[in-house]
């Protein structure tokens, strides 16, 4: 992807970088602290980022590699556009009132499916947590997850453990991996089995272009790629 494919939207890159630089602490090796890291992940709207997602399954010959783009055209909308290996655009729009949200899934060659967000609880949690993440809204995240940080400010890991029993029955933990103020990877570990789902974002997603091998992608995710 192009150079604008970072988590920072192109038009606002300059001020955002300036802000990030200004708020950067002088000690990059200081221990990671979720309270300090999360607000700095906040994305001005509109925002977009590339992603590469790996989903493993015992049913598949090899983990499924899906790539495309996440977009936040406005605060209430999250778009997940898959470009390869198939084309699919999922638009999640949260309504003014709870339950008024709408989801539309458009797949190549088929009419778009539209349904109420209230019928798709898994998308509600995606919208809530991913939205909060992109918005740097720590308080919103802490409504659903316990947060703990490891590593250093330069290279950090934040582990989110679901507090809601129903979510915990499906997801053991969600691990965020990042460098400085860039979120590079999200690993979702299911409550049962070892098939984890991995989403690479921003520079990690760009670096993953053309890589199919699951272990190399995992390494990219873990941060053994080139530093920015």
């Amino acid at each position: 992807m192009s150079s604008v494919g970072s988590l920072h939207a192109a038009p606002v890159t300059e001020p955002a970088l300036a802000q990030a630089a200004a708020s950067s602490l002088p000690a990059p090796d200081a221990p990671a602290d979720a309270n300090l890291i999360l607000p700095r992940l906040a994305q001005p709207i509109p925002a977009r980022t590339d992603f590469v997602e790996m989903r493993g399954s015992a049913l598949l010959k090899a983990p499924l590699r899906v790539s495309g783009e996440y977009r936040r055209p406005d605060a209430a909308t999250l778009v997940r556009e898959v470009r390869a290996p198939y084309a699919e655009t999922t638009t999640i729009r949260s309504g003014a009132q709870p339950g008024q949200g709408e989801v539309s899934i458009a797949r190549a060659g088929k009419p778009a499916k539209k349904f109420s967000l209230s019928r798709a609880p898994e998308l509600v949690s995606l919208q809530a947590s991913f939205g909060a993440l992109l918005g740097g809204d720590r308080a919103a995240l802490e409504q659903h997850y316990r947060l703990s940080a490891e590593g250093t400010r330069r290279q950090w890991t934040i582990t989110m453990t679901p507090t809601d029993a129903k979510v915990a029955a499906r997801v053991r933990e969600i691990v965020l991996l990042g460098r400085d103020d860039e979120l590079r990877c999200i690993e979702t570990r299911p409550a049962r089995g070892n098939e984890q789902q991995r989403t690479l974002l921003s520079s990690a997603a760009r670096a993953a272009a053309g890589i199919d091998d699951a272990s190399r992608l995992a390494a990219l995710c873990r941060g053994h790629g080139a530093a920015r």
Binding site: L59, A62, V66, G99, S118, E122, L123, P190
Partner: protein, 788 residues
């Protein structure tokens, strides 16, 4: 016996009554089932209403709304409420939108999805279809919902189970927030609860509603949320409670009035105590007799029964008023007995006609009143005299009473001509006043406040709850036949919905196809080798492993050979609730029901349904026709009772002139009451009819006692005193009822109060013999007699 002994005896009697009351009360099974009070059903709609829908789904549905807190808190309360209520025996089904998905079908029934789904009726399960499905599944796996779908795929690559669960969702399900149903505005959490008790079983509904409120209190905790419960059961409880509160308030006022009046009339505090004993005894004896003979006592029997035996309050009053110094209470009772006995015996004989009505409830009522009246009369004759102190004075000596008597004696006496004229006038009013004569709509007897009705309509709309008035019924000789017949409607109902004739529907065949349909689907499923070949070729072109779907092959093979599902196989699954409520099986036949919501065009629906051998039943019309038929039987019984009563009085009095004079006031009173009610635009219902019987009974007694007094002035004075006390107590009791806000109480009160007033006046004007004591009176009397 000394006065102390006498009062001791009275208290002992009271204590025995309390004991008997406790014993009967602990044994008594009060039933609120209206069906016992209905004649047997004739038309299919009546049969459905009486035999089946009495416990049918619509009438047992309670709609619940929680509001007043934020959605998350309300959702948590809704979930807690559902958990608590599901564990209770009062409820067949508690639904709040959660858990109506895959969990509906237990593991053992999962392979049956290929027999339950219509997916492969037109589309064969072949390689091309599988390929398309698998491609879609790859995308599903890569979607945010992937982790939810992944565990299902190995055995169900076409996601048939999900499709079924989606199809089973109520057609008009409300939106789901935080996993539970909410209204469109997202402010009220909604639940639908089906009770085990029938909608018109007030006791069962009461305990169900108490359970809901109790569970809500616990689920609510410190939250400020409120609960609304609506539906037929909630209304019947609400009306029942209001009726009970008003009746008991009026009852308490009446007791005070009775005590005060008797105390005033007889200047003795013992009079009210002793005067109340026959009524209490009569009530308990009647209740005991009904409980002993019948299986359960109907609530209406008790209410009507106590109304009808209210006349026995008069018996001790006659005894009191005829007391005088020098006459022992025993002698007094003996001399009154022929009159009292005639009244009681003829009334009891009249009530015998209820036995031929063929209605369980009316037969109970007959037993109750006959036993009650007889007991009270015998108690007044053979026990009460033992309790009465010898009278210190004679009411006939009262100056004030004498003055009243002289005034009354100047009233004109009515002869045959005037009575006939009044009767003709009354008849003309009854027949020619415009407006409906009868009130057939049971709902008007128990009016639901407009606000509650509006709330019910709102909840019903939000929840897509079925219409309580219309339902489609399709009969068959067994469940399979009924299911097959109702399947013919499956393609028609969506069309009706598109046309806007209905907003939604539900039927058992939506969940459980007939055995015939299941067998056809079994035949259409590919055999194992064919399916394996199709699957292999489809999988080869996808990222799926070649052996990923072994479970799928096994499930289809199992579905091909499994014995088709029948309603019995669904026991203990959530599906059973839906199927049992909509597929009624009764011995030698079965009825498949289609519940409808948002019915806008009954005629269009009826036409479509008729084409397929079913009918659209109008339950309101059915209940009205039943009421009309019931009333027919009551009227027949009343006509017969009138004849028997006249015969009994004839035998007792043996003089045509006396018989006519005794019967004329009550007959004329009946006409006058009807004329007044009709003139005021009142539509008559069963409660008016029953009250007319009471009024007639009172009138008969007044007339008999005036007749008994003959031309003896002192006796006439005593009788006048007794009848004044009797009619005053009765008038006050029923006039208060007549002011009630409850139509049932108002009907009874107005009718009887009018009856007392007319009977009192007419007894004086028609029955009273002129006395030979005063010249003026004598002249009047002669003039009157000339007419008579």
């Amino acid at each position: 016996m000394t006065p102390a002994r006498r009062i001791g005896f009275a208290l002992l009697w009271l204590a025995l009554l309390a004991l008997a009351g406790w014993a009967i009360g602990s044994q008594l099974k009060l039933s609120g089932d209206l069906r016992r009070f209905m004649p047997s059903a004739q038309t299919p709609a009546q049969k459905l209403l009486i035999d089946e829908l009495g416990e049918g789904p619509g009438s047992r549905l309670l709609l619940i709304a929680l509001e007043g807190d934020d959605p998350a808190a309300l959702a948590a309360q809704s979930t807690a409420l559902r958990e608590r209520l599901s564990a209770q025996p009062h409820f067949k089904l508690v639904a709040n939108g959660a858990g109506f998905g895959l969990e509906s079908v237990p593991e053992r029934l999962r392979p049956y999805r290929y027999l339950l789904t219509p997916s492969f009726d037109d589309q064969p399960l072949d390689a091309a279809y599988l390929r398309d499905q698998l491609d879609t599944r790859v995308q599903d796996l890569g979607s945010p919902a992937g982790e939810l779908i992944e565990p299902l795929l190995a055995s169900d690559p076409t996601l048939e189970m999900l499709r079924l669960a989606e199809a089973w969702q109520p057609a008009q399900a409300p939106q789901t927030l935080d996993g539970v149903w909410f209204d469109r505005a997202g402010k009220q959490a909604l639940l639908a609860v089906e009770t085990r008790a029938a909608g018109f079983d007030p006791t069962g509904q009461q305990s169900a509603i108490d359970a809901i409120r109790g569970a809500f209190e616990q689920a609510r905790g410190a939250s400020a949320s409120r609960i609304t419960i609506s539906g037929p059961g909630a209304f019947s409880v609400e009306i029942g409670g209001r009726t009970q509160r008003e009746a008991s308030l009026i009852g308490s006022i009446d007791s005070l009035v009775f005590i005060a009046l008797l105390w005033l009339a007889y200047r003795s505090w013992k009079a009210p105590l002793i005067g109340g004993l026959p009524l209490a005894t009569a009530g308990l004896a009647g209740l005991g007799a009904v409980a002993a003979i019948f299986d359960g006592v109907h609530g209406i029997t008790v209410a009507f029964g106590f109304t009808l035996i209210g006349v026995v309050q008069d018996y001790p009053i006659h005894l009191f008023s005829h007391q005088r110094p020098g006459l022992s209470p025993w002698a007094s009772a003996r001399s009154l007995w022929p009159t009292l006995g005639t009244g009681v015996a003829s009334t009891c004989i009249a009530y015998l006609t209820f036995f031929v009505s063929g209605v369980d409830g009316l037969q109970q009522l007959a037993v109750f009143t006959i036993v009650g009246l007889a007991t009270a009369a015998l108690a007044t004759r053979f026990v009460l005299p033992a309790l009465i102190d010898p009278a210190p004075r004679d009411v006939a000596a009262s100056v004030r009473l004498a003055r009243v008597w002289s005034a009354l004696a100047r009233w004109p006496r009515l002869g045959v001509t005037s009575v006939s004229l009044i009767a003709a006038l009354a008849l003309a009013v009854i027949l020619f006043v415009p407006g409906a004569f009868w009130q057939n709509d049971l709902a008007k007897l128990t009016p639901v406040p407009d606000a509650a009705l509006a709330r019910d309509a709102q909840l019903r709309g939000e929840l897509g709850a079925p219409d309580v008035r219309y339902i489609i019924a399709i009969e068959g000789r067994d469940a399979e036949a009924a299911l097959q017949a109702s399947e013919a409607l499956l393609p028609e109902l969506p069309l009706l919905r598109q046309r806007g004739a209905i907003a939604g529907y539900d039927l058992a065949a939506r969940y459980l196809p007939s055995v015939k349909t299941q067998r056809e689907r079994q035949r259409r499923l590919p055999d194992e080798a064919t399916l394996r070949a199709a699957l292999d070729s489809a999988v080869a072109a996808t990222p799926f492993r070649s052996d990923a779907f072994a479970d799928f092959l096994a499930d289809v093979e199992r579905a091909r050979h499994a014995p088709p599902l029948t309603p019995r196989d669904l026991a203990d699954t959530p599906l059973a609730v839906s199927v049992d409520g909509l597929l009624l099986q009764r011995g030698d036949h079965a009825t498949a029901l289609v519940s409808l919501s948002g019915l806008h065009d009954p005629a269009a629906v009826a036409e479509v349904v008729r084409k397929h051998g079913g009918q659209l039943l109008d339950l309101k019309q059915a209940s009205e026709s039943l009421v009309a038929e019931y009333r027919g039987r009551v009227l027949l019984a009343l006509g017969l009772a009138g004849v028997l009563l006249a015969a009994a009085v004839w035998i007792a009095l043996r003089s045509p002139r006396r018989v006519l004079r005794v019967l004329a006031p009550m007959a004329l009173t009946t006409l006058l009451i009807l004329a007044v009610l009709r003139g005021l635009g009142v539509e008559l219902n069963l409660f008016h009819l029953v009250s007319l019987i009471l009024a007639a009974g009172l009138g008969l007694d007044y007339a008999l006692f005036f007749d008994h007094a003959g031309d003896d002035r002192a006796e006439q004075l005593r009788t006048l005193h007794a009848v004044i006390v009797c009619s005053l107590t009765t008038l006050l009791v029923f006039a208060l009822l007549g002011l009630s806000s409850i139509p049932v109480l108002r009907a009874i009160g107005a009718t009887v109060a009018l009856g007392v007033a007319f009977n009192f006046v007419l007894a004086l004007l028609i029955v009273r013999e002129p006395t030979a004591m005063s010249d003026a009176d004598a002249v009047d009397a002669e003039a009157g007699d000339a007419h008579a």
